[in-house]
Symmetry: C2
Subunit: 136 residues, 2 copies
DNA sequence: TGATTACCCTACCAAGAACATAGACTAATA
DNA sequence: TATTAGTCTATGTTCTTGGTAGGGTAATCA
C-alpha cells in the first residue's frame, strides 16, 4: 500500500497540474480542495520542492507551483520519492535494491515472481505523468 | 513493499510445499534452511495454521505441514492474509475496500490508475500457487 | 510598515512492524 | 512415569507512520 503521505502528494500534484501556469497556489487552498491536513501537507510540499518537482514563492501572492510541465513528471518518480520502492521486495527493486540474505537470486522462485509483478506495475506508473492525475 | 513477515511466510510455505507429504516439518528446520528468526517464524506459522493453510502436530515427531495440496493455495491468498491489501490504495482494494474521503471515485484519476496497477498485479499473484514457490 | 505567506522548529501521541525473550502447555516415547 | 521434543502464549523493545499543536523567522506585496 502507498502511505498516506504518498497519496496526499499525488493528489496535491494533480491539483497543481490542473492549476498549471496560473501562478502560485496557497497550501491552504490545496489542503481544503483535496482534504489534506494542512500541517502534514506543508511537509509534503516542501519535500517535493527540495526534489525539484515544485517551486514556491513566499509572502503575499505566494504559494506553490509546478517547476516543470506536468507531462514531464512521472508518477513513478513521485512514488519513489515519497513512498520508496515500487517493487514488493528489496531484492527486485531497481532504485532501492538490497540483496536477500536468505536466498540466492539465481534460483529463487519468489524473486522471479516479484520481478514480474514489478514490471507489470512499472509498465503503468512509468508511462503516466501528472497530466493523467490532473483534477480540480 | 511486502513486510518481512509476509516474505518469511511465503518462503516457509515454499519450503513446506517442497516437503509436501513427507510428514511434519520442524519449525527449527524451516528456520535454519530459510534463515528466518525462529520465534518470529513460530508466530507466522501459527497464523497460517489458524487460517487453515497449515496443520500442526505437537510433541515428539511433530511439526508443521500443508493442510492441502500446494497447487490449491494461491499466492494472493497468503499475501492478503499476512500482508493485507494487494492494491496500492484502500479505495481500489477488493478485499480491504475503504472509501476515499478526499475524492469521489467516479472521476478520480488516481483511482483509475491504481485499479490498473491492482489488476496487473492480481493477474500474476492470483494465478500462482505454492507450487510456483517450491524450493529446497 | 503591516499583513500575508512560505518555511522551519520542537514536542507529543497512538498504532503498527519487526523482532527478542521467557516460560507454559502437550504429546510421544523410553 | 519422567523426559524431551515440540507447539503455544504473553510481554517488551525499538523504529516508523500518521498525525496534532504550537511557535518563530524570513520574504514579499500593498
Amino acid at each position: 500500500m502507498l502511505s498516506k503521505r504518498s497519496q496526499y502528494a499525488l493528489k496535491a500534484l494533480g491539483y497543481l497540474a490542473f492549476k498549471f501556469e496560473q501562478g502560485p497556489i496557497l497550501i491552504s487552498e490545496i489542503s481544503e480542495k483535496k482534504k489534506i491536513p494542512l500541517k502534514f501537507l506543508e511537509g509534503i510540499l516542501l519535500e517535493l520542492k527540495l526534489a525539484g518537482i515544485l517551486e514556491s514563492k513566499k509572502g503575499k501572492g505566494g504559494g506553490y507551483y509546478l517547476a516543470k510541465h506536468p507531462g514531464k513528471v512521472k508518477v513513478a518518480t513521485v512514488i519513489r520519492l515519497v513512498n520508496g520502492p515500487i517493487a514488493m521486495l528489496p531484492c527486485v527493486s531497481l532504485y532501492f535494491y538490497q540483496r536477500c540474505e536468505n536466498c540466492n537470486e539465481k534460483k529463487c522462485a519468489l524473486h522471479d515472481m516479484m520481478i514480474e509483478v514489478r514490471d507489470a506495475t512499472l509498465n503503468i506508473v512509468e508511462k503516466r505523468t501528472l497530466i493523467d492525475l490532473m483534477e480540480s
